[in-house]
């Protein structure tokens, strides 16, 4: 440490102690200001943490892949879950967990009372590992794990519906086809009420709910990813978004007519809005995009088939099951086209046929060789899905979907989003609180600035004689300035330490008090208590701010004091 400063510390401390009352009050004011800033900031961080890491990640994961089926209508179904999970596993760096999101709004009937709730599918094995997350109020969690037709319900809703463990609840919801479904579950356990959001959930076995929704094992509603570092969500989503680019929706199969032997063909549909032109043209017949069973054959097959012929196209399924390993489309030849040259003939289905068949009966992948044949023509052909652009905010998501609604596309639309876009309002709420905190910072620091400045002016006025004496016995101007600076910097350091201690005590005390926040207030509470999340960087920033403001406030008066002539200073005394 600088020798001068070492020498001046002792007199600085002595001067502080000499006017201890004034200095204690000043330090107390600074400490309280810092305490308020730290506590408010920690509360804001706590709310944001709860909103994102507890609510938003429960509602939509850190990153979500959703597929809007029939593009315009609100049905989220991923028909080929393994395809997307493969993409995620190939880019797994930073992923903590990949899970399916299976949930549906339902009308749930208890004993003579019904409520609107969300049936939420959870995997029993996973739930068993994390059973500490499920605080059982009554009943048996083990019974839930072992009974696929059981449910967990939160206490508040259980009381409203007058149900207890062992009772049955009846739920009514629409499956993925829009058909009404009614299912009975046995209440295995009642959970402690957490918050108004979580209270809406009724937890059931995921596999049971999937089957009741009409989802096959390779299908799901949404895929969620949880990351090691949630703050990486945006970057990760951008990377995954690129990987979700669609291929041409091609399927290979066998075409046959009533009098013809089968021939191997590829099938695709023209892109929506596609118009046949000179390059790719209809040579006979016509193309009707709304035809329910129409097919346009390449001109090369006009020797085998005629317009009006009934043909069938059989292709293998990607996910064969006991009932079938392939499917057959019954079609009617409506025309012939010219313009696509390839190793195997490409038949063009009407979009109506294509959309109805393709997603309900996912075909086997055609393979790279077949895809390569038709790569030059991919701009004419319908893709597997539309990859929607990344959104930046919740409002942007709304705009994006409303634009999608206007398109004639009836296939799938894939969207990759993070909890930040979905939870823009939470971010805005946090930003609003941060703005309030910044205003509070300015006010408090202004008060500190003015307080310090006034106090120092008073002190300098009172200590004019002392300054004159010090200067007369040889203390340099710089030393006088440093002495005053040191005094108040030491005071500020003591105030900062006290402020930190006060804030810790305040946060500990407030978070120990149980609060009944009601339905709305519980959003901001963790286990019915206030939740503070300490951000070390922000605390360091506030403390540094206090010290800097102190230095600024003290510098000018200290410099003025140092510029005093000894004769003038001593003259005052006389």
């Amino acid at each position: 440490m600088n020798g001068r400063i070492r020498v001046l510390i002792k007199p600085a401390v002595r001067n502080l102690v000499r006017q201890y009352r004034r200095n204690i009050l000043l330090a107390l004011a600074m400490a309280l200001g810092l305490c308020i800033l730290i506590s408010a900031s920690a509360f804001s961080e706590g709310i944001t943490d709860m909103m994102f890491n507890k609510f938003m990640s429960l509602m939509c994961g850190h990153v979500e892949i959703a597929v809007r089926e029939n593009a315009a209508v609100q049905t989220d179904v991923i028909r080929d879950r393994h395809r997307f999970e493969k993409i995620l596993r190939e880019n797994a760096e930073g992923i903590k967990e990949i899970s399916e999101s299976i949930s549906v709004w339902a009308r749930v009937l208890g004993i003579a009372k019904a409520e609107g709730m969300v049936l939420t599918g959870i995997e029993p094995e996973k739930a068993n590992k994390d059973r500490n997350l499920f605080k059982v109020y009554d009943g048996s969690f083990d019974e839930f794990i072992s009974d696929p037709q059981s449910a967990l319900i939160y206490k508040k809703r259980a009381v409203n519906m007058n149900v207890h463990p062992g009772d049955y609840i009846h739920s009514r919801f629409n499956n993925i086809f829009g058909q009404m479904e009614a299912v009975k579950y046995r209440v295995a356990a009642v959970l402690e009420t957490e918050s108004m959001f979580q209270d809406m959930a009724v937890y059931v076995h995921q596999s049971t709910l999937k089957s009741q929704l009409g989802l096959k094992p390779h299908e799901t509603k949404r895929i969620w990813m949880y990351l090691e570092n949630p703050l990486d969500a945006l970057k990760f989503a951008g990377k995954i978004h690129e990987k979700c680019a669609p291929h041409t929706a091609l399927y290979t199969g066998m075409l046959s007519g009533e009098k013809n032997t089968e021939i191997k063909c590829a099938a695709a549909a023209p892109h929506p809005g596609f118009m046949f032109t000179n390059h790719l043209s209809i040579v006979s017949g016509s193309y009707n995009a709304k035809s329910k069973n129409g097919v346009i054959l390449p001109d090369g097959l006009s020797g085998r088939y005629r317009i009006g012929d009934s043909v069938s196209y059989t292709y293998a399924l990607k996910y064969p099951n006991r009932e079938k390993s392939g499917t057959t489309l019954r079609l009617r030849v409506e025309g012939f086209y010219r313009g696509i040259d390839s190793q195997i003939p490409l038949i063009l289905l009407s979009p109506e046929v294509h959309y109805a068949a393709y997603y309900a009966n996912l075909p086997e992948a055609p393979g790279e060789t077949i895809e390569a044949y038709f790569k030059p023509y991919q701009e004419f052909l319908a893709k597997e899905w539309i990859l929607m652009r990344r959104s930046s905010t919740t409002d942007d998501i709304i705009v994006k979907y409303s634009q999608l609604n206007k398109k004639p596309w009836k296939g799938h639309a894939v969207d990759v989003k993070t909890m930040y876009e979905t939870g823009t309002q939470i971010l805005q709420f946090q930003q609003a609180i941060d703005k309030l905190i910044y205003i509070a910072i300015i006010v408090i620091l202004f008060i500190v600035l003015v307080g310090l400045n006034n106090t120092l002016r008073m002190t300098i006025h009172e200590r004019k004689t002392e300054i004159g004496t010090l200067r007369a016995i040889g203390m340099q101007r710089g030393d006088v300035r440093t002495l005053f600076m040191l005094e108040y910097m030491l005071l500020a350091c003591a105030a900062a330490a006290a402020g930190l201690l006060f804030s810790v005590l305040l946060m500990a005390g407030l978070s120990a008090i149980p609060i009944d926040g009601g339905e709305i207030g519980s959003m901001f509470l963790n286990d019915n208590r206030l939740y503070f999340l300490i951000n070390i960087k922000k605390i360091a920033a506030f403390t540094a701010g206090l010290l800097i403001i102190t230095a600024i406030a003290v510098f000018l008066p200290a410099r003025r004091a140092s510029k005093m002539k000894p004769s003038e200073a001593l003259q005052q005394y006389e």
Binding site: Q74, R107, H170, M180, E181, G214, S402, N405
Partner: protein, 262 residues
Amino acid sequence: MNTKLKILRALSMFVLMSGAGNISVWCRIPGADELLKKIDAAQTLGTDISAQVSFLQVRPVQGTNRYSMEYYRRDADDAFLLIMLAPRVEAGNGYLKTGDSFWMYRRNTRTFQHINRDENIGGTDVKSGDMESKKLSDQFKAKLDSDGKEIISETALGAQKTWKITLIAKVDNVTYPMQVMWVAQETYLVLKVENYSRSGTLMVTQLFPKYMPVQGKYIPSVFYSIDNFEKGNMTVTEISSVNLSKIPDHIFTKPYLESRSK
């Protein structure tokens, strides 16, 4: 009277009476396809229709609410338009179907939103899919019993002789995949429908006690939808001021719906 004549008379009476009781033995039970086509023929208008529709929704806890709306339908292309008139909170909202697209219009935000056919109309139990013109024969087929026979029988519904048929959906886009239907034998009008969920739970029972004749076809003027899931809930639908005049094309457009909602 001569004893022989008396006996003959008694025998004749017996034969007649037993014959009357067994008349169903000689009355052919139609096949499902035939029955469904006859139902469609009796009720499908094939023309445009406009009407005033009101729903009286009865809920034990929430009480009774009345909704009224204007309804326009064009069977030629399966288009319909519905404009809510009451209650005040719903007035100006609307529903439009053109082609395969269902739209819901909200007056307060002046926006259109795509909906599914299972969207509830104005918060009632009536779904937007219920307002479509649908052919039963396109959507349903008879359920078969364990012997592979269609489940159709003759039965009485009150004083009416009816065919009772159990139907299952042929397509996915129906709200209730299974229905049990009572159809009047004389008129092929649907008198009662029990609607079942995919898992076979009775969800809604519909009763059609009254029809009005309109140009040789029949439209239900009153019908009841009884919620079997939440007991006590019921919706009574009344259709009046039916008009079969051709509806101008501009009616089934978004701008028209918006203009009516101002």
